[in-house]
Amino acid sequence: MSALVAHTADVCMVVLFLSAALCLYRLVIGPGAADRAVAADALITIVVGMICVLSVRWNSGLYFDAVWILTLIGFLGSAAIARYLAQGRIF
């Protein structure tokens, strides 16, 4: 792996941490449950991006399965919260 990719990955991790902090801020102050659900969904997507950047940085595909699992959990969580908000029950 070249030094260009390594340094870019480091900078990208800082930027991703910054956006994760912004999402956490909205997750804490969000006035309603839906604001928090949107912020949690965005936070899961940012964590997926962090895993991708780190797998390039560490030159290992060991953690790439977590991308699939987190995508699935994010979708199921958002769908469950939406159904609970709209109908008052999940199942």
Partner: protein, 127 residues
């Protein structure tokens, strides 16, 4: 020739990572700054989806020669993200509107205003 291809791949990986993380930053700023829940969904739904596509593209390019199977999995993950994220955002937006989350006063067009005036109360009375 071989090393030139490697340099081009490294440049593409770096550009994809930079663009993806900047889009994520745009999504975070929009999530904090925008006025109501629908605007925040707009920021999180679109910018996060495009950003995560680009960020998944980076390992797909990086492992293309050493671990081809991981590249296939990464491209499948991009398709999966493209299928799930807009669906989840649509479900949440519909739920917010049905529950009567407030719409920002600057909104110019609200086409569902006549469709769902008393929907939540009816819905909750049944359960």
């Amino acid at each position: 020739m071989e090393s030139m291809l490697a340099h081009a791949t490294d440049l593409a990986i770096a550009l994809a990572m930079i663009a993806g993380s900047l889009l994520m930053l745009v999504a975070g700023i929009g999530l904090v700054r925008l006025p109501d829940v629908y605007c925040r969904m707009h920021a999180a739904g679109k910018a996060c989806t495009l950003g995560v596509w680009l960020l998944i593209l980076a390992p797909a390019l990086h492992f293309a020669t050493t671990e081809p199977f991981l590249t296939v999995r990464a491209l499948a993950a991009i398709v999966f993200q493209a299928l799930t994220t807009p669906g989840a955002t649509y479900l949440l937006a519909h739920a917010c509107y049905v529950r009567g989350y407030p719409v920002h006063s600057g909104t110019e067009l609200d086409e569902l205003k006549d469709t769902f005036p008393s929907y939540p109360q009816d819905r909750f009375g049944q359960e």
